[in-house]
Amino acid sequence: MEWLNPYHLQVASFVLINAILGVSIYVTLSTGQLSLGNAGFMSVGAYTAALLSTQHQVPIPVGILAGSLLAGAAGILVGIPSLRLSGVYLAIATLGFGEVIRAVLINWESLTGGAVGVPAIPQMGRVTLVWARDRGFSPESLGLQSNQFISLTVFLILLLGTILTVAFFLRLSRSRVGRAYAAIRLDESAASAAGIPITYYKVLAFSQGALLSGFAGALFAHSTSFVSPGDFTYHRAVEILVFAVFGGSLHIYGPVFGAAFLTVVPEALRAVSDYRYILYGILLVLMMVFRPQGVIDPALLRRFRRSGKGTPA
C-alpha cells in the first residue's frame, strides 16, 4: 500500500477537480460562447459551501449542492444579459464579472474573511473518517493508515463526481440539447432559422457551465479545507481555459485529458513546475497556430476506436 500515499492521491484529486473545471468551460464553449468567468463561478460555489459548513454547520453534501446551485443561478443572472454579447465582448465581460466577484470577496470581510480567506473548512475525508469511527469502523481493518484513508475517501468522492459529470454531459451531447448546442456553435442564424430557441439554449449552456464551476469550487473547498480570494484570480480563469484549449474543445474527453495532463506533468517534473505558466503561455500560442481544435478531436477519437477494434472509447 506504499504507492497509495496522500501526495499521489492529492495530485489525483486535483486532476479530478480540474477535469470538472475543464468540462465547465467546454459546456459553455460548445455553444460557441467563451466564458472567462468560470473562476468567479467557482469562487461562488467554494465560498457558499465553505461558509455554510463553517458558520452554519450545514452538512457537506447540502453545502456542495447549495454552492453548485447558487453558482448556476449566478450563471443565469450573468448569462441572460450576456446574450447580447458575442465573442470577445462576452469573454471580457465575464472576465470582468470574475474580477468583481473577487473584489467583493476581498472587501466583504464580515462575511468572507477578506483577503485571508476561510480557514478550517470541514474536509470531506476527515469527516467521513469520524463518521466511520463512530460506527466502529477503523481504516486499519483495510490495512490503511488514517491519512491514507482520508485522502482515498476524498479521491473516491471526487472520482464519483467527475464520472457522473462526464457521463451526464456525454449523454447530453447525444441528446436534443447537445444537438442544439452543436447547431448554435456552427451557425447561430441557421440554427435559429431551423427553429432552435437560441436564447434558451445559450443561457442553459452558460448556467450549466457556471453550475459545474461552482460544483468544482465546492468540492475544492471541502478537499483543501481552505479557500481565499487568491485561489480564484485571472490566472485560474486562464488555467481553466488552457485545459480546454490544449485538450480540445470539440469533445468532452478533450478538457478532461487537458486537465489531467497539465496537472500531472508539472507535478511529475519539478523542473517544469517552476516554468508552468511560461509553458502555458507558449502552449496557448502554439495550439492556436498548429492545432486550434486541441489535442483530442472527434477525428482522433474515431481513429482510436477503429484501431482499438470495438473497445468502447
Binding site: 465582448y89 468583481v100 511560461i278 503561455g281
Partner: protein, 294 residues
C-alpha cells in the same frame, strides 16, 4: 481638495486613455483584442525603470528605450502569434484572443523570473518638485504626464486624420479586404498598427512608473484589464471613445477613493462595463454592434 482630486483624476485618466488607445488601434484594424498589450506595457515600464533608476539616464532616454523595446515586442507578437492565425483559413475569431492570452501569460511570468514579484521603486529625478497655485498643489510629474498624454493623443488624431499612412490605416480598419484591393499593403499596415500600439503601451508604462512611483510584474494585468474595460466602455475601435473612457474611469476611481471606499477601486471599471453593456452594448462612442456590421 476637490481641485487636487480633479487633477489627480485627470492625470490617472490620461494614462488610462493611452493604455486604452493601444487596445483600440489594434481592435480597429484587426478586430481582435490584444490581450498581451498589458504585459507589453509592463515591459515598457520595467525598461524605463532600468534606464532611469538603475542606469541613471535622463527621462527622455527612458521613453526612447521603452519605445524601442515594446515596438520590437509588438513586431514579434504580430509575426508569431497573430500572422499565422490570419493566414489560416476558417480560424475561429476566438483563436487570436486565446493566442494573445498565451503571450500575456508568457510575458508576465518571464517578467516574474527576471524581476521577481515585489514592487520596484521608480525614481523620477523631479518627483518631489511641486508648485502651489492658490489652494492647489500640483506636482511637476503630473504636468509632464498630462503634456505627454495630450501630445500623444493629439498627435495620433492628426496622424490618423491628416497623413497618407493614417488614411491607409483607417481604410484598413474600415475594411481590410477592400483596402487591400485599393492598393494598401495590409500586412504592412497591420504590423505597423501593432507596433505603434505597443510603442504607445511602452510610453504608458513609463508614465505609470512616474505616476505611481513603483511598478511590479502585476501592473500589466491590472492596467490591461482596465484598458479593456475602457475600450468596451468607450466603444471598441473608437479612438475618441478610448480617450473619453480613460478620463471618465480615472476621474471616477480617484473620486471613489477620495470620498468612498478604496477597496472597490479596481472593481469600478468592471461594474462600468457591465452597466454599459446592458444599456448600450456598442459603448459610448461605438458604431453599430459587431453582429449588424457583418
Amino acid at each position: 481638495m476637490f481641485l487636487e482630486q480633479l487633477i489627480n483624476g485627470i492625470t490617472l485618466g490620461s494614462i488610462y486613455a493611452i493604455v486604452a488607445l493601444g487596445y483600440t488601434l489594434v481592435f480597429g484594424v484587426l478586430d481582435i483584442i490584444n490581450m498581451a498589450h498589458g504585459e507589453i506595457f509592463m515591459f515598457g515600464a520595467f525598461v524605463g525603470l532600468l534606464i532611469v533608476s538603475k542606469a541613471g539616464a535622463p527621462l527622455p532616454v527612458a521613453f526612447l528605450g521603452a519605445i524601442v523595446v515594446t515596438a520590437a515586442m509588438g513586431l514579434l507578437l504580430e509575426r508569431f502569434a497573430l500572422r499565422p492565425l490570419r493566414t489560416r483559413p476558417g480560424a475561429s475569431h476566438l483563436a487570436s484572443l486565446i493566442s494573445t492570452i498565451g503571450v500575456s501569460i508568457l510575458l508576465e511570468n518571464v517578467a516574474h523570473k527576471i524581476f521577481g514579484s515585489g514592487n520596484h521603486l521608480f525614481e523620477t529625478p523631479f518627483a518631489e518638485i511641486s508648485f502651489t497655485i492658490g489652494p492647489v498643489t500640483v506636482y511637476l510629474v503630473q504636468v509632464v504626464i498630462l503634456l505627454i498624454s495630450l501630445f500623444l493623443m493629439v498627435g495620433l488624431s492628426l496622424w490618423l486624420s491628416r497623413t497618407r499612412a493614417g488614411k491607409a490605416l483607417r481604410a484598413a480598419a474600415e475594411n481590410l479586404e477592400t483596402a487591400g484591393l485599393l492598393g494598401v499593403d495590409t500586412n504592412r499596415m497591420i504590423t505597423a498598427t501593432v507596433v505603434i500600439a505597443s510603442a504607445m503601451g511602452g510610453i504608458a508604462g513609463v508614465l505609470v512608473g512616474m505616476a505611481f512611483n513603483y511598478i511590479n510584474n502585476q501592473i500589466g494585468l491590472s492596467m490591461g484589464l482596465k484598458g479593456l474595460a475602457i475600450i468596451i466602455f468607450g466603444g471598441m475601435g473608437s479612438v475618441y471613445g478610448a480617450m473619453a473612457g480613460g478620463l471618465i474611469l480615472g476621474l471616477s476611481e480617484t473620486f471613489v477613493v477620495a470620498y468612498g471606499s478604496s477597496g472597490y477601486r479596481d472593481a469600478i471599471a468592471f461594474v462600468a462595463i457591465i452597466v454599459i453593456l446592458l444599456i448600450k452594448p456598442q459603448g459610448l462612442f461605438g458604431q453599430a454592434p459587431a453582429e449588424a456590421r457583418r
